[in-house]
Symmetry: C5
């Protein structure tokens, strides 16, 4: 599917593929391409001379696969963080800027692009350069990452309290989920920092968009700081958790050792007097039984005293 | 509520909303706004052309939501650390500087603003620029963060000793609280470092206030260093705590294993001779009983010797 | 073996050693040397005045053994990461650039060189400088490291989920393998960063190749960032693993302590009434037996209540 | 108490308060003030126009409370590390440089000042500037921190060996003490780095003293590196300690589990044949007893074999 | 002992103390002094005006005690890493460069100096400046540190595999030894980085030696990177070790808990029927015995089922 948006004086207007002729000459056009067919890729090549990169390069992490500038076009591969229930996706989108065209090419719907479209129409935005649309989309994604980090910050702070009421597998799952979300956001921020630092040095980008993207870079640096703070917080909670688990185990082992100290010696003594030897004087002794009880109590007390003195319990 | 303070030659004087007309033309006015009503927001818009930012932007962490400079005004969103019993709050306050006005807008009372007011009156401070009032407030907040860090430093040092007398959940709670307080102060310091580094480069700020804020930035860097030192100290105490807990558990497990080595074999032997077989020669043997005791003692000694030699205990 | 490749106008053509004379004067020649014999080393010395470095310097890690520039030649020692089943090899290859020659000397086959050869022929590449061949080989190795890191990234992310279903030695082996692969890639990236930063400052390298290698350096920095992110992820998974193991052990110890609390006291009571004393009133008491059962149940309940109240279980 | 030292041509000479008039006009005077009375503070104000800072500012950690330069004076607040048996004190001393005066104000005796005094007399030092005396004191304190770090380095290296002979609470106490000492020295080094970096940029300080303090800054950076190395060493020892404790516990638990595997089943079998059922065929069987022993041995062997095969022990 | 080496046109020639007169005027002389007597120190003072530093300064770590430049001499204190069986020594050597003399003063034999001497003779080296000899010695020491790091790297990689076959005290000892060796090499590298960064800025050092030492500095930075990588590797192995130890303990505790769940209830039941109460109906019941066995088996199964369902085992 190819969605065509033109920045006319009435704001961002949508056109069908066959109406493309009706768009005035110098109007900025945004071609938003989702899961392009062979035919659509060829059309793009002829209409905007956009070369479709091979699919396996899509996931590339080297900056040379993320930012290319040649002749009269800028090629960028920027990833968007998409939250799906428990999981966090990193979805790459290819951006291509040439002449009056901005091409965005993707293999699934990206919430940020939708938000941009609605906001551009609502606020009747007018764009004089294709890279200005790209900049607006980047600003919205950075805002969303900022909001996600604020929510993550509050969740991590709550987790710090929960750890003291419950040291369960649930807590470790939450910690692990927040750690992964935090590092994935960090990765996504790093990627944008690299791409935008090339973008603002490009001769092909207008001055106003460069100023906007400098502010965006400043925002990204602030957000990067927050991910570092959150890693410190998560480390701190993990060490509290480990501490609490160890203390709980100590208590259980102590209870168990005290029980053993009390009951093992006494059970031995009882078993001894349970033996069926014919010649066991104590068995026939009048005070044999109380003597055995006395033996049990005294050995237990001696043992407890000895263990306590040694500071082992 | 809108509190109006004017920096007259008699120092910082408070005026009622309707007396605002009586304040001489060029006097610097500080409008301190708490939980503004619709009506008060409109008044601010008309009187000082102050645009109220949407509430959800208040908690934003990106610097673009924290510092904006346009036309003839500076908009800043600075957070204040407020200690409430066990918890540490981070409360954002919006500052707006335009012409001879400083507007501060907040949704709860901020101790630092109160302290500033008292000190300005006590020391008969006179302000030639609205940003000078803002700078004075920032200096007081940095001082308070400094004092909090000094107290935190002493508390952490005491905790290091307490760990050796008691390895309890209490200790882990304290460690966790200090870690959170330290990281929150660190976050607040980072935020001010970013905002002030923009502020001192602004063409709208007078030279003297810029010099003051350079000193403030230097202070913030020192305080940031201290938070790093405190993180090292807390890590160190946590690893002492874990070490002590593990050693305590080792001792308990050793006691338990020694008991088992002594009593389990003896109890088995006693149980064997407690069996009711008709044909058990030892039972009828004259020295059966002492023989059984001898058996118990010898197996125990052999086992203890074997375990010790192997270095397992 | 010495493989001779010449960059003729028909692309990268292979020649036998004795045909070397037929290669036109100014054609760029790549001499790919594998496990050279004494005789071949002498031929290289006379033909290209290439001095074979002593074998033990091959594994040297100091940059002075990795990059040398003198007179009219550049000597480099660059390592290639080779994956062999479970293990990761770091194989050094010596590169020597002089006049129209590029010499590569190695003691085993290097996949990257093979890939370069195929791609140079397939894309009919033509080289005007020997260092341009070197640059192309480096670009392919960086690409392969990038791809390896992408795969590693996905594997690490899967491992984070596996940890919650299984805390086995297998998981620790995987973590250890990914950690080692990640650090080895990091080491290899560091090495290339150092060598290329010297290479792009060399007066002996043409401008276009210098521009290519600047892009390569940018890629290497991005990849280095990813290795740091992966170390954070691996640390995070390790701490989840430790947390889960401790929690599992806590549960086992609790079960055990509960069992001991229930059965040890009851077994003692049973053993006491199993003693063969002549004078044991309870034994002859009509309700002796139920009394003993009552005793067992009550002691157990008292103990469980006491342990629960103390919060030890 | 106010100790007056004048740098006459006979070296550093001490004068009584009332002899101050006899000191030649341009001689450099060092006023060393300990626990000043109200009266002495007033004298200082009139004689040297030294403003006594409020006591609570003494412990301030922000650099603005540590270094102030105005008009014709430099005010500094520098802390000295003082070792008291087990504990490490950080004692702040205020320094005030104006005209030909150096004032040092403190609330306890500082060993470094004493050492300086002795060395100045012994080496017949002559000072042309008050800040030169301050610089000499700082150099001695840096030397003492250097010596402390050398001793600490040796102690940490010995501890690394001790850990393998004994994993006791003592070891953890030593580790904790060295960690605290190391971080406190680090804090003190950081403080001096900040103060001296302002000091060497002051127009009020002579060129020779600036050169000396540049060397001092270089020393401080070296010492800071050593504190980082020591933190790595202490971390490494802590992880060895944790490893050893865990291994010791594993061994104890294994011994215990082996005992349980041998004796629990056998004791059950013995108890079964100790039951007083009228109809128990085995009891009347001629080979009942050896049969029971055979049963015990065989169940134990089967269990041990099964546990070993499963790799649990 | 004072060993005199002169750089004559026949290479590095050794002279006896009394032959010193025969060395031509402008020949560069290296005075290698081992454990100097009082008399030898005085000779040095008069012959080369070399001031012997006090012994306790030898171990100083501040850079001001490691590098001094005054008048026409350079004084340096450089440490050499010497491996003695299990231990790693850091041995300081004083170097003094003045006129045509290089003095090296030490209190034990230093392998690197020996290697230099042999290589200088073997390669018939000729030195025009005393600092060139110093530079050659430094290059050899850096090479040796590089080789040590390569060996250490291989050893650490092997240890990573050993950890999975054996989690013994031996492994922790090796880890601790490699950690200490790595950090000591790191310390020694740091020291040389500081000294050489002063050395290459000295007006008293010739241009060629400065260029050599720039290469040496580059080598030192590479080696420093490797020590960081090795610290990451050692941390990673330590966490694998801890993980494996915990998993082993979990298994032992599980085996033990299963045994307890099976045998404790059965033993109680057996002991109950071993009681000698006159009125115990079951004892006289025809199927008492099989009933007791049934009771034992059923309680055990119920318990195992309950524990499994709760996921505790
Ligand atoms: Mg999105
Ligand atoms: Mg925003
Ligand atoms: Mg937001
Ligand atoms: Mg936050
Ligand atoms: Mg986790
Ligand atoms: Mg972490
Ligand atoms: Mg406040
Ligand atoms: Mg202050
Ligand atoms: Mg304060
Ligand atoms: Mg402190
Ligand atoms: Mg904590
Ligand atoms: Mg921490
Ligand atoms: Mg345990
Ligand atoms: Mg390869
Ligand atoms: Mg690529
Ligand atoms: Mg790729
Ligand atoms: Mg990834
Ligand atoms: Mg691992
Ligand atoms: Mg790691
Ligand atoms: Mg002192
Ligand atoms: Mg010194
Ligand atoms: Mg010293
Ligand atoms: Mg040392
Ligand atoms: Mg410690
Ligand atoms: Mg530490
Ligand atoms: Mg050596
Ligand atoms: Mg070398
Ligand atoms: Mg080498
Ligand atoms: Mg290596
Ligand atoms: Mg270790
Ligand atoms: Mg380490």
């Amino acid at each position: 599917m190819i969605f065509i948006h033109a920045s006319t004086n009435r704001g961002l207007e949508q056109f069908a593929l066959d109406q493309i002729g009706e768009i005035p000459k110098d109007t900025i056009i945004w071609l938003d391409v989702e899961k392009p067919s062979e035919e659509e890729i060829n059309w793009l090549k002829s209409a905007v001379s956009f070369e479709m990169p091979p699919r396996e390069v899509f996931g590339d992490i080297e900056i040379s696969s993320k930012y290319k500038e040649e002749g009269d076009f800028i090629y960028m591969n920027l990833s968007f963080v998409i939250q799906q229930k428990e999981d966090i996706l990193v979805e790459p989108v290819v951006f291509f800027i040439k002449g009056r065209y901005l091409v965005s090419l993707r293999y699934r719907d990206i919430p940020t692009l939708l938000i941009f479209q609605k906001r551009a129409i609502a606020q009747n935005m007018h764009f004089q350069f294709p890279e200005a649309i790209f900049a607006e989309i980047v600003k919205i994604e950075i805002d969303r990452i900022g909001d996600r980090l604020e929510i993550l910050g509050r969740r991590i702070r709550n987790l710090r309290k929960e750890v003291f009421s419950e040291q369960s597998e649930e807590i470790i799952k939450d910690l692990s989920y927040y750690d992964e979300l935090n590092i994935t956001l960090r990765e996504s921020i790093n990627e944008k920092l690299r791409i935008l630092s090339h973008f603002i040095k490009s001769p092909r980008v207008n001055a106003q968009t460069k100023r906007d993207m400098k502010v965006a870079l400043d925002d990204l640096h602030t957000l990067l700081d927050y991910t570092t703070l959150y890693m410190d917080r998560i480390d701190s909670i993990q060490s509290s958790l480990l501490g609490l688990i160890s203390i709980r185990q100590n208590e259980a082992v102590k209870v168990f050792t005290v029980l053993a100290t009390i009951f093992l010696p006494a059970t031995l003594i009882a078993s001894i007097f349970g033996m069926n030897f014919k010649y066991m004087p104590e068995l026939h002794w009048k005070y044999g039984y109380p003597y055995s009880l006395f033996l049990m109590v005294s050995t237990t007390l001696v043992l407890i005293y000895w263990v306590r003195k040694k500071g082992w319990l």
